[in-house]
């Protein structure tokens, strides 16, 4: 049985008609906007029923002063197939309000999402409910700001300097 991108994405859309509220396609890449409330259920089905077994990447976008809601989570999933044409990629987006920047963690479903979600937590400060190890991954653990947010000055080295000096002091005690 041959599997093609249109039929798989079509059946996803028909099964989750109420959860998907926006769809667009650009250069054969399909993006689905999923409601935050049904996101975890949608993901579980995506892996178990539709065999998207691989998380390519997880990231986020900050649309400060451009768009409301401010944050957007971006997930890229891959489904492996025997033929080249049977390999399918899909992009899932979830919009997050500035007042409630929490989302369900998908690490219980795809364990490969663990560090990717920690990176988003570190850079954007988005909280993942149910994450097994919600710590910063790149910046020092006592670092306060979230550097990829648009209201953070990218040249502001003061918080890094403070963490460094603290580390230096504690390391020699």
């Amino acid at each position: 049985m041959s599997v093609d991108s249109d039929s798989v994405i079509g059946s996803i859309r028909s099964q989750f008609e109420s959860s998907i509220y926006k769809t667009y396609s650009f250069r054969d890449e399909t993006t689905l906007f999923v409601k935050k409330e049904s996101f975890l259920k949608f993901c579980r089905s995506l892996k178990q029923d539709f065999k998207f077994t691989y998380v390519i990447d997880i990231t986020a976008v900050d649309y400060l002063d451009i768009r409301v809601p401010r944050y957007e989570m971006v997930y890229l999933f891959h489904r492996f197939g025997d033929d080249y044409d049977e390999n399918i990629r899909i992009r899932i987006k979830v919009e997050l309000e500035d007042s409630d920047i929490t989302i369900d963690s998908i690490t219980p479903i795809w364990s490969g999402a663990n560090w990717l979600e920690r990176e988003v937590l570190d850079m954007f400060g988005i909280e993942f409910r149910g994450h097994p190890d919600p710590r910063r991954i790149l910046m020092p653990e006592d670092y306060k700001p979230h550097p990829l947010r648009k209201d953070f000055d990218v040249r502001n080295r003061q918080p890094s300097k403070e963490s460094f000096e603290k580390e230096l002091k504690e390391g020699f005690e």
């Binding site: 550097p147 040249r155 963490s163 460094f164």
Partner: protein, 157 residues
């Protein structure tokens, strides 16, 4: 002349001179390579450029056995405390080479995470510009350190 032959195989010199002569010809580097500059540093160590010709080929990965720190590559604030700790573990006397634009002044990374020059937390003796500098430039830096040891020396403890 600090030393002269006294005849019959004797040599008169000062203890400072002979110690500094030994130091400058046996600089044991601690390679702190974090980025592409480290590749050029490896090139300087290897047979084509071969800094063993200057007595500096014994790369010591333990700071306790090194007296020259070659910091080559971008240093972030998270790594800076590690870098400083390794420097503090080196026995005196010790020297530091800042190799490449990133270690000299941050290079292209004017960002929240990157140290804008390792002289913020380390006493640097020689700066080597370039992105990355050629192995010849590193050899020149080692020769400058040798000159510095010859002229200034370090106290004998």
């Amino acid at each position: 002349m600090n030393s002269s032959l006294g005849g019959d195989g004797f040599l008169t010199t000062t203890i400072n001179y002979i110690a500094n002569w030994g130091r400058k010809n046996s600089l044991w580097p601690m390679p702190f390579g974090t980025a592409c500059c480290a590749i050029e540093m490896m090139g300087a160590f290897a047979s084509r450029y071969d800094i063993s010709r200057f007595g500096a080929e014994v790369a010591r990965f333990s700071p306790r056995q090194a007296d020259l720190m070659i910091v080559s590559g971008t240093i972030t604030y998270k790594l800076a405390s590690v870098c400083r700790r390794i420097y503090d573990q080196m026995p005196n006397p010790k020297w530091v080479i800042a190799m490449g634009s990133c270690t000299c002044g941050g290079g292209p990374f004017d960002s929240y995470a990157v140290v804008q020059g390792i002289d913020e937390f380390l006493p640097v003796d020689v700066y080597v510009g370039g992105c990355p500098p050629r192995p010849e430039a590193l050899i020149d830096a080692i020769m400058k350190i040798q000159k510095k040891i010859e002229n200034e020396g370090a106290p004998i403890i």
